[in-house]
C-alpha cells in the first residue's frame, strides 16, 4: 500500500478517507534525534462507514489530526509527525493486514483507534508480534486488558466492565434498587449482564430477571413487555448499537418509560443524538467524557465541532488524549523505541481535558474517572447537544475492574 502525503489540509472533509498529512518543522531534523527516520507515524485504523463510524470513524481521524497539530504547535519537536488512516470495515482480517503492512512497510510506530473488539483484539496481537504500540480507544471488550492483554497495548477510554459496572453501582445508589435485564444473546451481552448483576447485588440492589434476545433484533417490544411485567424500577439494556436504539424507541412507544427507568450499559452521545431527547429522557448511562462538563472540555469540543459539525464522542476525545500522551512520551525519551516509550507513558500521569490524574496500569488499562449521566428532558435542553446532566463522578478506582481481579497474565507474574 502506498501512503499519500499531503501538506496540512485545514478543512478536512469527513468524506476524504485517504487521509494522510505531514506536519513538522520541515527539513530541520536535529542530528541527535533518535526517532527512526525522523518521523513518528501514527496509523488511525477505524470504521469509516460501518456500524461504528458515527462514534469513531471520520471524527476520530479529525481528533487525531488535531492532537498532532496541537502537539507540534506546543512542543516544536525535533521530529515530524504523520497520521495515516484506513477503514478496517470492522473486519479482523483487513485490520490485521493493514496494521502488518503499516508496521512492516509503512514505518508506522503506533496504531490507534480500533473500534470494534474483533479488530482491536486482532491488531493487538500484530502489534505485539512486531513490537509496536497499539492505543485502543473505540473497542470496549474487557478482554483487551484481561485474557488478551499485552505489554504494548493501552486501553484508553472505556471497557464494558466500566460502563456496565459504573451504571449499575451508581444507579443503585441513586435509588434504582430493582433491575430487569434486556440482554443481547451473545458473548458481549452475556458478560455485560453477568458483571453488572454482580455489582448491583453487591451494592444492595436486586435483579428480578432477564430476557435474552437474539442479536441483532429490530422488534424488541415483546421483551420489553416482559421487562414491564417484572415491575422492576430499572431496565438494564445489556445490548449495543441498533438494538439499544430500537429498545429505547419502543420502550417509549409502549409507555414503559418514563414509569420505569432505562439504563444503557453501553451507549454513546451519538446514540442519544440520533434518538432525540423525547425518547431518551431520564435514561442513565456511563461515559468517560461529556463535551459540556467544564471550560476545558467545552473549548476543545467547540474546536472539534467547527471541523466535524458534531460534538465529540468519548472515543474521539479519548483518541486526542491518547495520541497527545504518546507524542509527549516520544518527546520525553527522544525516541520512538516501543519499550522506552511505553515505559515513559506508564510513568507519566495523564492530565488533560479528557482525564485527570490518569494512569496506565500494568494490564494496559488507562485508569481515569467515569461519569454517570442522566439524559435531560427536552424542556431542559437549551442549545444543540445539551443532552446530559452529570449525576455523579465515578472515581477511577471504583469505575474499573480492580487489578486484583484481573485475568491478565502480566499482572500476576
Amino acid at each position: 500500500m502506498k501512503t499519500k502525503k499531503t501538506v496540512v489540509p485545514f478543512a478536512l472533509r469527513s468524506t476524504v478517507a485517504a487521509l494522510a498529512l505531514t506536519l513538522g518543522l520541515g527539513a530541520a531534523i536535529p542530528a541527535q534525534a533518535q526517532v527512526s527516520d525522523g518521523v513518528v507515524r501514527i496509523g488511525v485504523l477505524t470504521d469509516m462507514s460501518g456500524a461504528y463510524s458515527d462514534l469513531a470513524g471520520p471524527g476520530a481521524v479529525i481528533a487525531a489530526n488535531m492532537a498532532v497539530e496541537d502537539f507540534i504547535a506546543r512542543q516544536k519537536p525535533g521530529f515530524k509527525v504523520e497520521i495515516v488512516s484506513a477503514d478496517h470495515q470492522n473486519k479482523g482480517d483487513i485490520a490485521s493486514n493493514k496494521a502488518r503492512e503499516w508496521f512492516d512497510r509503512g514505518q508506522v510506530d503506533a496504531v490507534t483507534e480500533l473500534v470494534s473488539s474483533t479488530t482491536a483484539l486482532a491488531v493487538m496481537k500484530v502489534a505485539k508480534e512486531k513490537n509496536k504500540i497499539a492505543l485502543i480507544t473505540g473497542a470496549g471488550s474487557s478482554r483487551i486488558t484481561n485474557e488478551d492483554c499485552n505489554d504494548v497495548s493501552v486501553h484508553w477510554v472505556y471497557d464494558t466492565y466500566a460502563t456496565g459496572n459504573g451504571t449499575g453501582k451508581a444507579v443503585v445508589k441513586q435509588g434504582g434498587k430493582t433491575w430487569y435485564f434486556l440482554t443481547a444473546d451473545y458473548a458481549f451481552g452475556q458478560s455485560l449482564e453477568r458483571d453488572t448483576t454482580a455489582v448491583i447485588e453487591a451494592s444492595g440492589g436486586k435483579v428480578l430477571g432477564s430476557v435474552r434476545h437474539p442479536f441483532p433484533s429490530t422488534d424488541l417490544s415483546s421483551y420489553l413487555l416482559k421487562a414491564q411485567a417484572s415491575g422492576a424500577q430499572v431496565i438494564g439494556l445489556a445490548n449495543a448499537g441498533a438494538d439499544t436504539i430500537n429498545s429505547i424507541k419502543q420502550a417509549s412507544e409502549f409507555g414503559i418509560t418514563p414509569k420505569q427507568t432505562l439504563a444503557g450499559l453501553l451507549m454513546f452521545i451519538t446514540d442519544i443524538n440520533s434518538l432525540g431527547l423525547k425518547a431518551t429522557q431520564g435514561m442513565y448511562l456511563t461515559e468517560a467524557f461529556y463535551w459540556d462538563m467544564n471550560p476545558e472540555t467545552r473549548a476543545w469540543s467547540k474546536r472539534f465541532f467547527a471541523r466535524h459539525k458534531k460534538m465529540p464522542t468519548m472515543v474521539q476525545a479519548g483518541l486526542y488524549s491518547a495520541i497527545t500522551h504518546y507524542l509527549e512520551a516520544v518527546k520525553a525519551v527522544n525516541s520512538d523505541d516501543t519499550q522506552k516509550v511505553m515505559a515513559q507513558m506508564k510513568k507519566a500521569p495523564i492530565n488533560d481535558f479528557f482525564a485527570r490524574n490518569g494512569k496506565i496500569r500494568d494490564d494496559g488499562l488507562m485508569l481515569h474517572d467515569m461519569y454517570l449521566m442522566q439524559v435531560k428532558k427536552p424542556a431542559d435542553s437549551h442549545y444543540p447537544w445539551d443532552y446530559y446532566n452529570v449525576r455523579a463522578t465515578i472515581p477511577a478506582a471504583d469505575a474499573f475492574q480492580p487489578l486484583s481481579q484481573s485475568r491478565c497474565p502480566l499482572v500476576h507474574k
Binding site: 500500500m1 468524506t15 478517507a17 485517504a18 487521509l19 469509516m48 462507514s49 460501518g50 463510524s53 471520520p58 495515516v84 488512516s85 484506513a86 477503514d87 478496517h88 470495515q89 470492522n90 473486519k91 479482523g92 482480517d93 483487513i94 490485521s96 493486514n97 493493514k98 502488518r100 503492512e101 512492516d104 512497510r105 470494534s116 473488539s117 474483533t118 483484539l121 486482532a122 496481537k125 471488550s141 478482554r143 488478551d148 444473546d185 451473545y186 458473548a187 458481549f188 451481552g189 452475556q190 437474539p214 442479536f215
Partner: protein
C-alpha cells in the same frame, strides 16, 4: 498453450512473496480455493448457492476452536474443519436440492443465516470479539508462524485443490454434472440419479470451501463473524462471476482481484466500497456475463478464428 499458462502462473506464485505481501497472498489463495470450490457448483452443476459462507465460516470456527481449546495440530484442525463443512454441506444440500433455481438460492441463503445466528449465540465463538489468538503451530517440523513457510504450505494445498477440481471436472462424474447443468430433464431421462449427483457436488464444494475457511484461520489466527455473514456468500459469488463462471482459472482471477481491491480500497473510499462491489456485480451481469477469463478466451478464439478464415 494452457500448460504454458499454468507453468507461468505457478512460477509467479512461487516468486510472488519476494514482491508482494505474503499474508495478502495467502488470503488471495484461500479465497481462490473458496471461489474455485464455489464454481464447481455454480459453473459446472448450475446450482447457485447463496449460503457458502456457512461452510467457509463454520469450518473456520471449528479449526480455530480445535487448535486453541483442544490443542489439536493444524493438520488435524484443518481436516476437522473440512469434514464439518462436508457434513454441513450434506445437510444443507439435502434440503436445498428439493427445490430448483431461485428457490435453491434462497434456501441456501436462509440456512446459512440460521447458522450465522447459531454462531453468534454460541459462547465458543466469542460473539463479536471473534475467536482470537489461534496459534499457527507446526506441521511436520515446519514452524508455521513464519509467514513464508506458511505461504508455501498453503500454496501446495492450493495447487492440490486445483488439480483435484480440474480432475473432477474432466472425470465422468464431472461430465454428468455438466449434463445436468445443460439439461436436467435429459439427464434424468438418461437414467442418472440427478439428485445424488447434485448432492455429491454440493458436499464436495462445501468441503473445499471449508478447507479454505480453515486455512484462513491459520493465516490470520482468528475466526470471526465476518466469515459466516451473508456478505461473504455474496463475495464468493462476485469473485466467481467476475473471473468467469465455469472456467478453471476464472475464480482464481476473480478472487485475486476482489481481495486486492478490498485491501487497496480500505483507506480510500469508506462506505463506497460496498457501492463499488455492487457496481461490479451489476456490470458483470449486464455486460460481461462470461467474466474476465471467459471474455478473454472468447476474444482469443475470435482472433484465431478470424486469422484462420482470412488465411485462405
Amino acid at each position: 498453450m494452457r500448460r504454458l499458462g499454468m507453468a507461468l502462473a505457478l512460477g509467479a506464485a512461487l516468486l510472488a512473496p519476494a514482491v508482494l505481501y505474503p499474508v495478502l497472498l495467502m488470503k488471495v489463495l484461500c479465497f481462490a480455493i473458496f471461489a474455485s470450490a464455489f464454481n464447481l457448483l455454480l459453473g459446472y452443476t448450475g446450482l447457485l448457492s447463496f449460503g457458502h459462507a456457512a461452510f467457509f465460516g463454520g469450518a473456520a470456527y471449528v479449526a480455530g476452536f480445535t487448535i486453541r481449546e483442544l490443542a489439536w495440530s493444524p493438520l488435524a484442525a484443518v481436516a476437522a474443519g473440512t469434514v464439518l463443512a462436508g457434513v454441513l454441506g450434506w445437510i444443507v444440500g439435502r434440503l436445498a436440492i428439493r427445490r430448483q433455481g431461485i428457490y435453491f438460492a434462497m434456501i441456501t441463503l436462509a440456512l446459512a443465516q440460521l447458522l450465522y445466528f447459531i454462531c453468534i449465540e454460541l459462547p465458543q465463538t466469542g460473539g463479536e470479539d471473534g475467536l482470537q489468538g489461534v496459534p499457527r503451530g507446526t506441521l511436520a517440523g515446519l514452524d508455521l508462524s513464519n509467514d513464508l513457510t506458511l505461504y508455501y504450505v498453503i500454496l501446495t494445498v492450493s495447487v492440490l485443490v486445483f488439480v483435484l477440481i480440474h480432475r473432477t471436472i474432466h472425470s465422468p462424474f464431472g461430465q454428468v454434472l455438466k449434463a445436468i447443468r445443460e439439461n436436467e430433464a435429459r439427464a434424468v431421462s438418461l437414467g442418472y440419479d440427478v439428485d445424488r449427483y447434485k448432492l455429491l457436488a454440493f458436499v464436495l464444494s462445501a468441503s473445499l470451501s471449508g478447507l479454505a475457511g480453515a486455512l484462513k484461520v491459520l493465516v490470520f489466527k482468528f475466526a470471526t463473524l465476518t466469515d459466516v455473514h451473508w456478505h461473504m456468500s455474496g463475495d464468493v459469488v462476485l469473485m466467481t462471476i467476475l473471473g468467469g463462471i465455469g472456467t478453471v482459472s476464472g475464480p482464481m482471477v476473480g478472487a485475486s482481484l476482489i481481495v486486492t481491491l478490498e485491501d487497496q480500497l480500505a483507506d480510500k473510499v469508506g462506505a463506497l466500497v460496498t457501492v463499488i462491489m455492487g457496481g461490479i456485480f451489476v456490470l458483470c451481469v449486464l455486460l460481461f456475463r462470461r467474466g474476465i477469463v471467459g471474455e478473454a478466451s472468447a476474444f482469443w478464439q475470435r482472433l484465431l478464428g478470424n486469422r484462420n478464415s482470412s488465411g485462405i
